[in-house]
């Protein structure tokens, strides 16, 4: 199969890759670029573990061809921290114990990041709806919702 050139930006860094066009975005992120924070879960757009942000919108990278991200800005969980400091959401997840096994965490963080950008002052109900596409099998939803709520309330400003 003829490989195809793909240019995209991940966490501010430009990449030029040669890939089989059937390669999924999650495969490019994990296997070609080597950022393994983004997880492969159900691979049928059900679980949300592979959630990344493309041009400010949250998507499931298991079901997007990498070639469809051509020329776009992709953000993964590795792109949340800045200058070696955790982002407010990451700090809040830590403080609220918002995970057990941690497998859903990167997806939860990226979904929450995109959600808060869209709706900076959500109600608890809206937060629950916002992360509906992300499944946590350790049933840690309450602590996740509390963590997102704390960031929305401004508890982590200036962190």
């Amino acid at each position: 199969m003829e490989k195809r050139e793909l240019r995209l930006t991940v966490n501010g860094q430009e990449y030029e890759l040669y890939i089989n066009p059937k390669t999924l975005l999650v495969e490019v992120i994990r296997d070609h670029i080597g950022l393994t924070g983004t997880k492969r879960g159900c691979e049928t757009v059900s679980c949300g573990a592979c959630t990344v942000i493309i041009d400010d919108i949250a998507v499931k990278s298991c079901s997007i061809l990498a070639v469809q991200a051509e020329g776009r800005q992709v953000r993964t969980v590795e792109g949340l921290e800045a200058n070696g400091k955790l982002a407010p959401l990451q700090k809040s997840f830590l403080d609220h114990g918002s995970y057990q096994c941690g497998f859903c965490t990167p997806g939860m963080l990226m979904m929450s990041e995109a959600f808060l950008k869209e709706n900076p002052t959500p109600t608890r109900e809206e937060i629950k709806e916002g992360i509906e596409g992300n499944i946590c099998r350790c049933t840690g939803y309450n602590s996740i919702v509390r963590a997102v709520e704390a960031v929305a309330k401004g508890d982590y400003k200036g962190e």
Partner: protein, 291 residues
């Protein structure tokens, strides 16, 4: 494992249609791919060429005028429909349906035409749009045709789309006075596919009797099913519990659901009965308020 394919990315609709004409026997069209990539990974769909129309911005639009009604371009995402103030005002049922369709991530990338062309009878948009009397516009390099969405679905995951045709637009007649549409699916997990769903449109006259009705079922057969005998029960009548029960019986008889791991045939008919009563009542009461 996805089989290898040659990736084609047209930049105009014209180019897309000519690629379709060239490769019609050996190609599939991808837009958001939120359904297609799953079945490709499962090996259920194997294709030599994949034509990617996600970038066709000329098909990304929502317009409305009082004469023509609503026009939505094929590459419009679910999220655009969900967030549209125009639709919230003119066709609130579409916004309500979208809010319960899959997840925000899927709605962000997936498109309305992709959803409709996939032809899954458990979809939410098709029955709702059929209840709204929508039409679908199909184009090929040779020309275009418009057909009622109701006639678009021909069998299990089968549609009237010819191999060289592309879904380009969804058309909905102008919003009518004294008319409302409601849709609800039953599911165990919020925003999951419906075990069964019912869309109902009711138009009332000045005396609030039913002037016209459309009832369309989701996941109650191999295609979306329009329950015409149930509609007939309603027309000319005043709203009552007895009438709703009679209509619901007729609709449940007309349904042709399967038994699977999610529900038995009998249980699906029960759900359809209950949802028919609720959705007809909801649409009726809403229509009676709209003056």
């Amino acid at each position: 494992m996805i089989h290898d394919f040659t990736y084609l990315k047209p930049v105009t609709l014209q180019e897309a249609l000519s690629m379709l004409a060239d490769h019609k026997d050996e190609c599939k069209v991808i837009c958001g791919g939120q359904s297609l990539l799953i079945v490709m990974r499962q090996g259920l769909v194997v294709t030599d060429y994949l034509i990617d129309i996600k970038g066709l911005n000329e098909l990304n639009y929502i317009t409305y005028d009082e004469k023509q009604g609503l026009r939505m371009g094929a590459t419009t995402t679910h999220r655009t429909v969900e967030k549209s103030n125009l639709l919230k005002q003119k066709y609130p049922v579409l916004v309500a349906v979208e809010r319960k369709l899959a997840s925000a991530q899927v709605r962000n990338w997936g498109t309305i035409a992709g959803n409709l062309a996939h032809g899954d009878s458990s979809g939410d948009l098709a029955p709702t749009l059929i209840a709204l009397n929508a039409k679908i516009k199909l184009s090929s390099a040779k020309g275009s045709r418009v057909m009622p969405l109701e006639e678009f679905y021909t069998g299990l995951f089968e549609t009237a789309l010819n191999k060289d045709e592309l879904v380009v637009e969804i058309q909905v007649p102008p919003a009518r006075l004294l008319t409302a549409t409601a849709y609800k699916k039953f599911n165990l997990i919020e925003n999951d596919q419906g075990v069964a769903g019912v869309a109902a449109t009711v138009e009332v006259d000045q005396s609030r009797a039913c002037k016209d009705a459309r009832i369309v079922l989701s996941n109650a057969g191999v295609t979306p099913i329009r329950a015409k005998s149930g509609e007939k029960v309603l027309i000319g009548k005043k709203l009552s519990d007895a009438l709703l029960t009679e209509a619901a019986e007729a609709v449940a008889d007309e349904a042709d659901p399967v038994s699977d791991i999610h529900a038995s045939e009998e249980y699906r008919r029960h759900l359809i009965r209950v949802l028919t009563k609720r959705m007809v009542k909801q649409a009726w009461e809403q229509a009676a308020k709209l003056r």
